[in-house]
Subunit: 548 residues, 2 copies
């Protein structure tokens, strides 16, 4: 005989004192969806690419919350996802690339046959670099697992604080055969489909999401048997699973954390038949239309979630964080259109430290706390979400084994958005959608708008050279950004306020600023002992940018 549901509560206390401020939190993360792949502009103006998509529910969310117009993730999936769950910058966690499904298998693209024969290790195409040592097995909640970052995962802290934690969709923090492979080791109560896969084998129920003798590989989506052959797209199936698993905490009035990680819009680029015709009719080619239909599928999912929360009467108690995991994939032919044009005006795309690879949508809805339909432009980065979510959950003290790099964005999105709304009312911002949305002072947000944000990709992404992607590192500080090209030893300088497309290298014009940022980047990488490639011939590590 036990007192159920009463743990830690005193029956003598007045009921008002018992009211715990634990808002529900939904982290809705989309895969590979670029910054301009939406009818809502995630930046400070509407670009031509925004006109191509139909995402009414993202617009709905934007109208209800604050948009962070200068939000960043890592160039590829796993580093972003492990930064979110640990609060550690990728250059610091040494998880700088995506994790393979299989353990101890670096995902670094193999070089050409000659380079392979010469060294037996993964090299860049030129054969010049050997791959760096990085945490190829990803993140581990258990100590002592080879080639992993040992860290205390966010959902564990949330669960310990009384949250009911649900994982739906893509996990991709670690490789098979390690504890990080399973959301159940991360503090999640529930897991639907999350494991070591970074993409689905298929989105189509006709393919059983890859579970057929013809198609199967490690990326076949698990936990989806009920939908096989039903005509239900994976995005819709995951949405149904998410809402289903929410019933328990909603009905039992438990605060919940839902990490809802869509596989879409990652490759394979396959049509969502509910939405594709609109885009074909608009004159898109097949690839473009497929991709746009996948975006709209995700948008529908977001809408269904918002509808569910409203219908259950918990919308106002639920924070929604909307984000994507990296820039849009701009070099995949299956997406149609013209290669590397997908993220315009941003340069390049997924894999790159140029803006097209790292700048992402980020919106936060929080009724009563965040002023609706506002924008703030302080630069923020994915690891910030770790302390942000803990603060949102009212968790003030927590023990973690890792050294957290992120800063809480709570004051930025609450006080900051209210300041922005007030300023807009006073006419101090004539157009919220225009450039230069509200600048939140550091004394209000606690976030220095001039802090250095580091992006580090010391890898070759594909088995062919991609000049604007492979072996790059970058730092953004205020309006300025330094890009370090390890292959050529070249440093580039851009002013993002004037040149969001990174078309005008100002390095020659501002050598002092180049030097300052090179030192900032180098000192950070040194402090974190960040992975760096080495020269295959000498074994020497590529120099830090301040040593050039």
């Amino acid at each position: 005989m036990k007192l159920k549901h009463l743990t830690g509560l005193s029956l003598l206390a007045p009921s008002v004192a018992l009211a715990a401020e634990k808002p529900n939190i939904v982290f809705f993360i989309v895969d590979d969806m670029g910054w301009v792949d939406s009818s809502v502009a995630y930046g400070e103006e509407v670009y031509p690419n925004n006109m191509r998509y139909n995402t009414p529910n993202m617009q709905r969310l934007a109208s209800q919350g604050v948009m962070l117009t200068n939000a960043y993730a890592c160039p590829v999936s796993t580093p972003t996802r492990t930064s979110l769950i640990t609060g550690v910058n990728a250059a610091h966690s040494h998880i700088t690339n995506w994790t393979s499904t299989t353990r101890d298998t670096p995902s670094d693209a193999t070089g050409g046959a000659v380079a392979m024969m010469q060294s037996g290790v993964n090299n860049d195409m030129s054969g010049r670099f050997s791959r760096p040592e990085w945490n190829i097995n990803g993140m581990s909640p258990v100590e002592g697992v080879e080639s992993t970052l040992y860290a205390t995962p966010l959902p564990q802290l949330l669960r310990d604080a009384g949250y009911y934690t649900i994982h739906v969709g893509k996990a991709h923090w670690a490789s098979a055969g390690t504890p990080g492979a399973s959301p159940y080791n991360m503090g999640y109560n529930v897991n639907v489909s999350g494991n070591v896969a970074g993409m689905p084998r298929s989105y189509q129920s006709e393919d059983n999401y890859g579970n057929t003798p013809q198609l199967w590989n490690y990326l076949a989506v698990q936990n989806m048997t009920e939908y096989y052959g039903t005509g239900i797209h994976l995005t819709e199936a995951l949405t149904r699973e998410a809402l289903k698993t929410l019933d328990y905490p909603v009905e039992n009035d438990l605060p919940f954390y839902l990490y809802f990680a869509h596989y879409a819009t990652h490759t394979p680029i396959q049509r969502d038949s509910r939405f594709v015709q609109r885009y074909l009719d608009a004159g898109m080619d097949e690839g473009q239309a497929r991709y746009a239909s996948m975006v709209e599928g995700v948008d529908k999912s977001l809408g269904d979630l918002l509808d569910y929360l409203e219908a259950k009467g918990v919308a106002d108690d639920t924070i929604i964080i909307f984000m994507t995991d990296n820039g849009g994939n701009a070099e995949n032919k299956a997406k149609g259109g013209v290669r590397f044009m997908h993220n315009l005006p941003l340069r390049n795309g997924k894999g790159s430290v140029y803006e097209g690879g790292i700048r992402v949508p980020l919106m936060v809805k929080w009724s009563g706390k965040v002023a609706p339909d506002t924008r703030v432009n302080t630069p923020v980065i994915c690891e910030d979400l770790f302390p942000t979510i803990l603060q949102m959950a009212g968790i003030k003290r927590y023990d973690v084994v890792q050294s957290v790099d992120g800063k809480s964005l709570v004051n930025l999105v609450t006080k900051g958005s209210k300041l922005a709304a007030k300023a807009a009312k006073k006419g101090q911002i004539t157009d919220q959608k225009s450039a230069n949305s509200f600048v939140v002072p550091q004394e209000v947000s606690g976030i220095d708008p001039e802090r250095a944000l580091v992006f580090h990709y010391p890898h070759q992404w594909k088995p062919y050279d991609l000049e604007d992607i492979d072996f790059l590192s970058a730092v953004r500080k205020g309006d300025w950004k330094l890009v370090y090209r390890m292959r050529t030893g070249k440093l580039e300088l851009y002013n993002l306020r004037e040149d969001i497309g990174e078309q005008h290298d100002l390095a020659a014009k501002y050598p002092e600023r180049v030097k300052e940022l090179a030192v900032e980047l180098s000192e950070t990488l040194r402090k974190w002992n960040s992975p760096m490639p080495s020269y295959r011939t000498t074994g020497e590590v590529v120099p830090m940018p301040d040593k050039l």
Copy 2:
């Protein structure tokens, strides 16, 4: 701001009145483990087969609880599992055979090539019977799914009553593409690995449990990526998952229902390397030793679970129900030994309505309620567990869409076991292990020891004839059992008290009893409109036994 954890509770009531009697419940179910496949005798005496196994934790559980020495399941997996989750007898649910992984695909064994060519449907080997219409897609918690039994599942009722519900292991209630495929549709909060698979593709982590390009088929075990290549046997991996998922309800003092359904000891018969040597050393052949090591693996799992509950201080608050899903597979060559000798003294094995196919271990531990180390011999059947578990959970009123056939065994295992213990103390039972363990009067147990229990297998099991398995139906009533052989129209009568091995057909000797039982069986099958095969040539349904 919400009052968390206080749903439905009044703060004004004194705390003692709030104490809800909701014991935790663990249903530990083993697959294909026969009645004599253990060092603890599940019957009323120790048989030679019992001497072959080492299962100290089953002995430990037996010493702590009551054993039901005349417990029954269905001849194959799905019917037992759907009876457990719905309370409906298989002949009534029309789920009389195992469900295929793929929808709308009868699992009835195909006949010989000639029969196939002649009719295009599944036939028995002789080509004489067409398969019956049965619910080939299994059980559905949603109305209107073709070829399913629509029913309210047990875990949903438990969850609605405040239980935290966990599914680990094999589900096998339904086929892919239907709602019954997913434990998340059955009221389970958590699901690890349960889906449409009735067996694992492999138990070995070296095979990734079947998730390799060489091995994969629909039976590859899902949700297990963290264990790939780790050397951890599936039985151990599932045990770790079960204990991990228990942490949440245990730490939050939520009453829990854990349905822990091992894939073991189903085929493939693969060694559990932790235990196999003992059996090889004892002179078993490779197949026998492999099987025995799988049994011991399951026993270890049970022990780990009991240890966990004790360590967490919840052992006395937790009811353990231990059962297997059907008789031991006695015709599989991989198990070594001599075919059909595995279940001796019982006749035949899995698939059969003879005792070897349906008589199963059943033990219940319930501290303070069930007298330890006791045995009762009232015949009981798997669908009884449905109302039993609801009563254990204190759920008095519930709405279900199905017509429940099972009877609660709560009084039988509580009052009955105490009576048995008292009788033993008084010397009324000189040896608890001997035949004729305590007879619990119906006025105490609410269970008529003479009620008719029906077993119905109107199918061909394998793509070859199995005379003692295919197309059989049976009824047990008290000590008597009638077996109906549909192919030959023969009725057999056995006295199980005298002849547990069903070796002496007494039909000729007791024609009146044959008639009585034939009427009982026929009326039940008619009332339930039970599936019956038909003659291929005429399309006529096989006659009921009272029409012979």
